[in-house]
């Protein structure tokens, strides 16, 4: 059997969620090697003109008697070019307290991330305690003054329990707990840039919110984040449909300081707390002639800060941010009994982002809707394989884009980030995704090998009429491409 996108989604949601996995599968493995590139002037202010990513991903699961082990590992290397106004890692993008300078530069990033789950069938087929570990290290570095060096380490340990019932129903509950630590700093090779105001784009600031900046504040900072939360998963067969679902809540409490790590106690300058609710309902119906899948995915992420400049106890909020998404997609694979199959689908995505910096009197609210019909054709080939062709046009338009700025608090960040973001979110965009992949069972004995080529082209059709004095405006288009090879065993 080939792993079509519907089956891939089932595996993806199940891999790290004990209650959702198929207990009948004793062994599963997968290795991916991908190269991705995106390039174009249609981008947000804090997004590079081009980005190249090479990623190695592997995932697997195995049962050894009563013990189960599953997990995944990713190593990637990312190169970004012409990225400005965001001298930071790309791990916590809503978080404030990062270096800011208008100068566009090159960035190199590297991730090692591993997730491992160990489980034990305490009461075989019924009760299964487990523990999951999430490990990650991240490194970001810049090569243009002011140049960044950031290292982040994350560890979460999540104990849980799965209860399986008759008829394939299963419920799991898992606690989330962990911490992360990031050390970041900037340096200059050219001393002139470090002290002069004659190169405005080289002036380094600390950004404490959505524009509340401090010029030449500190050359190093430390962020410590504590995570806690929980996840509930639920699996059930409802009629001829299989439901896989989860609901997850996570609170992250980040504390930032510029104090040296050798100090006995830190003076916390700012905190940022986020609450994230995420959930997914994946309904799959496998039939003799047609497969159907309905995927409903949502995420609600809100955060607010506390800064010592406004309250010694950090109790007064200045920066608030929210990022909410809802994705609905339906797909139908038909003509399964025929040599060639087809898939039709429709995706509807809702994206909402709110940023507010109270002291700066700056607020941006954006809501975007995107429609994404899909056609995919599966063409059997003579090499015990299959050629898959995908075409998916899309159109997105703003439901709301509102910007409020006080002229008496406009600063470099407003001109370089806030105004461009406003233009980005107020754009109407059309484009298309296209994909070509070849899956083979014949090239490697009993294993599936997949070669894929994907592309997405976005073209900005129009944007808002307001003429804010932005120093940068999103351009006309952006192209993303991906080449990958995947091995399933």
């Amino acid at each position: 059997m080939f792993l079509n996108p519907q089956a891939s989604r089932v595996l993806d949601i199940s891999l790290l969620r004990q209650g959702l996995g198929d207990s009948a599968i004793r062994s599963y493995g997968r290795v991916d090697l991908d190269y991705q590139r995106s390039e174009g002037a249609y981008r947000r202010a804090q997004e590079g003109f081009s980005k190249n990513r090479v990623a190695f991903y592997t995932a697997g699961a195995r049962k050894l008697g009563r013990i189960g082990i599953s997990g995944d590992f990713v190593f990637d290397k990312v190169y970004e070019d012409s990225l400005s106004s965001a001298i930071r890692s790309d791990q916590t993008l809503l978080s404030p307290f990062y270096y800011y300078a208008a100068k566009a530069g090159n960035y190199e990033r590297q991730n090692y991330k591993a997730n491992v789950t160990l489980s034990y069938d305490l009461i075989p087929g019924i009760l299964m305690p487990f523990v999951q570990l999430n490990y990650g290290t991240h490194w970001s570095t810049g090569s243009v003054d002011p140049r960044l060096d950031s290292k982040r380490f994350l560890l979460k340990y999540n104990p849980g329990l799965t209860y399986r019932m008759k008829g394939g129903t299963a419920v799991s509950i898992m606690a989330l707990k962990g911490s992360a630590r990031e050390n970041a700093g900037i340096a200059f090779k050219n001393d002139r840039f470090a002290t002069s105001l004659t190169y405005p784009d080289r002036i380094d600031y600390l950004n404490f919110g959505y524009g509340y900046l401090s010029i030449r504040d500190t050359s190093s900072l430390l962020k410590k984040t504590a995570y806690q939360g929980g996840e509930l998963t639920f699996k059930k067969r409802i009629g001829s449909w299989n439901l896989l679902s989860f609901l997850r809540y996570e609170r992250a409490k980040e504390e930032s300081t510029h104090d040296s790590k050798s100090q006995k106690s830190y003076r916390i300058r700012a905190k940022f707390e986020t609450d994230e609710y995420a959930g997914r309902l994946l309904f799959t119906r496998i039939g003799l002639d047609r497969d159907q899948q309905l995927d409903i995915h949502f995420s609600v992420l809100t955060g607010q800060d506390g800064h010592i400049d406004f309250s010694p106890t950090l109790s007064r909020v200045n920066y608030e941010a929210a990022q909410n998404t809802v994705d609905l997609s339906y797909s139908l694979i038909f003509n399964k009994r025929k040599r060639n199959q087809q898939e039709l689908g429709l995706g509807v995505s809702y994206y909402e982002e709110n940023r507010s910096d109270a002291a700066q009197s700056t607020r941006l609210d954006a809501r975007i809707l995107r429609l994404n019909p899909l056609f995919r054709s599966y063409i059997a080939s003579s090499l015990s394989g299959m050629l898959v062709v995908k075409v998916a046009p899309f159109y997105s338009w703003p439901l709301q884009t509102a910007l409020s700025v006080n002229p008496n608090s406009v600063n470099a960040f407003t001109r370089n980030v806030v105004y461009p973001d406003y233009y980005y979110f107020s754009s109407k965009v059309a484009g298309a995704q296209a994909g070509l992949s070849f899956l083979s069972k014949g090239l490697l004995k009993s294993n599936i090998l997949e070669f894929s080529l994907d592309a997405e082209y976005s073209s900005r059709l129009s944007t808002a009429a307001e003429s804010y004095p932005a120093s940068f405006a999103p351009g006309k288009s952006r192209l993303q491409t991906m080449v990958g090879v995947k091995l399933l065993f």
């Binding site: 002290t195 105001l197 401090s214 007064r316 600063n411 470099a412």
Partner: protein, 453 residues
């Protein structure tokens, strides 16, 4: 089962939401500045709407301009709570002044005000009494090159100079004209014996004589250099629109030269520095060093160019060559020696933080501001690095800095107000913020390129 599951998920959601508490939100503030004048000094209705008002946010160095109403009120609404500096300047032409006051006048009339590092954390209304100060005219600073050039490829502090300009319409003798470096506290650390603005409270200096206001009637010098005279007071005539360049070391810094220790002073990039070999005067500290410290050896960079007359060092401390603070932590004055104004006789005081006087304690000459003919308050490039001002508002209601920071090769240059019959008249409103600009590279040539129009 479905009902139980639904109930469980609902309770989980409600429970998690309940953990979130409502927080107080920061609010932007309104800052209202109320401009006024002392009615005892100014009896005519002041057209406040002509004033230029600028506030600078100390945290991010952004500047915001406001325009006052005719009653002198200017409101900056919705600004970020924080620390600000304020600068107000207004110039009335002679005709406007005459029309408003009924008093005939030939020169422009200036009203100024400035205040640094004021914390405004909630809606605030601040009264600002504008200060008028009559411009003395005559000699003024045209150019001050205090930051030096690149520490790696330039000349560091060896190429410093000042340029003094005859801004009057008559020829003036520069004999006994003194150039002084004004001392001030170089950090913002709170200690005892300071004024509220964190500048030294000189009235608390040990042994301070009660002779006027120690903080507002005097400044205290780190160094004083005097243009020599032959006793007639008529040796160095400066025509209107002409200037004198006083170099730290009057050599061509764009090329290698030999130091006092016999070693060659190389230069990495001559374009970063200047040729001071044609300076009118130079500071040569060695004779003074020998006087205060007999047997002192020559400082390597204090090279004497015998072709250029030496300034007479009246007083200098903390330097073996002319060194001006490149971070903008000193101010500069001009005064004429003669009569009662004998800089060798000025009383000297230790800074007020010094509570025990010994033979080695540094004491600084107290210069009466009534003798000062020009003064320039220099500040740090970045607002948050500013230290407390050293000059009273009456003598300079603003401040100026290069924007390139220390060792940037930049100089501050007084702007040209107008040109009459080929003679440039430089802007002098007693507000350096308005009067000065920045030259990307210091220029001692006296040529047109050394002016800012």
């Amino acid at each position: 089962m479905k009902a139980k599951l639904f109930l469980f998920i609902s309770l989980l959601g409600i429970g998690l939401s309940a953990c979130k508490k409502e927080s107080e939100v920061t609010k932007p503030i309104d800052l209202t500045l109320n401009l006024s004048v002392d009615p005892a000094q100014i009896s005519f209705p002041v057209p406040y709407e002509k004033a230029t008002v600028e506030i600078i946010n100390k945290t991010n160095n952004e500047k915001y301009a406001g325009k006052p109403s005719s009653n002198g009120q200017v409101v900056f609404s919705g600004i970020v709570p924080g620390t600000y500096s304020v600068n107000v300047s207004m110039t009335l032409s002679a005709a406007e002044f005459t029309e408003l006051s009924g008093i005939a006048r030939e020169e422009d009339y200036h009203l100024n005000y400035a205040i640094d590092n004021q914390s405004y954390l909630e809606n605030s209304s601040v009264d600002m009494k504008l200060i008028t100060s009559e411009v003395i005219g005559g000699f003024v600073f045209k150019q001050i090159y205090y930051v030096g050039s690149s520490t790696k490829d330039g000349a560091l502090f060896r190429d410093l100079f000042v340029e003094i300009y005859n801004n009057s319409n008559t020829a003036l003798y520069a004999d006994s004209l003194c150039f002084g470096l004004v001392l001030g506290k170089i950090n913002t650390t709170k200690t005892d014996f300071l004024l509220p603005n964190l500048q030294y409270d000189w009235s608390q200096s040990i042994g301070m004589l009660q002779n006027g206001d120690a903080n507002n009637d005097y400044v205290y010098a780190k160094a004083i250099f005097m243009i020599p005279s032959d006793g007639t007071g008529r040796k160095h005539l400066v025509q209107p629109g002409q200037s004198l360049v006083i170099a730290g070391t009057a050599v061509d810094h764009t090329k290698p030269y030999v130091l006092n220790n016999g070693k060659e002073q190389t230069i990495g990039n001559g374009a970063l520095t200047v040729d001071l070999s044609k300076a009118d005067f130079e500071v040569y500290l060695y004779p003074y060093d020998q006087k205060v410290n007999p047997g002192a050896t020559k400082f390597a960079s204090d090279v004497d160019n015998p072709q250029v007359p030496d300034m007479e060092t009246i007083f200098a401390t903390g330097m073996n060559d002319l060194v001006m603070n490149p971070q903008g932590k000193e101010s500069y004055i001009l005064f004429k020696s003669g009569g009662k104004a004998d800089p060798n006789q000025f009383p000297k005081y230790a800074n007020p933080e010094t509570r025990t006087i010994t033979a080695s304690t540094n004491k600084y000459p107290q210069i009466p501001l009534s003798y000062v003919v020009d003064a320039v308050e220099v500040a740090a490039s970045v607002e948050k690095d500013k230290t407390a001002r050293r000059l009273p508002l009456k003598h300079d209601a603003g401040s100026i800095s290069v924007d390139g920071g220390q060792y940037s090769s930049q100089s501050i240059v007084r702007k040209t107000k107008t040109t009459v019959n080929g003679r440039r008249i430089l802007k002098d409103t007693n507000n350096s913020t308005a009067d000065f600009g920045v030259l990307p590279k210091a220029d001692p040539s006296k040529a047109a390129a050394s002016f800012i129009d």
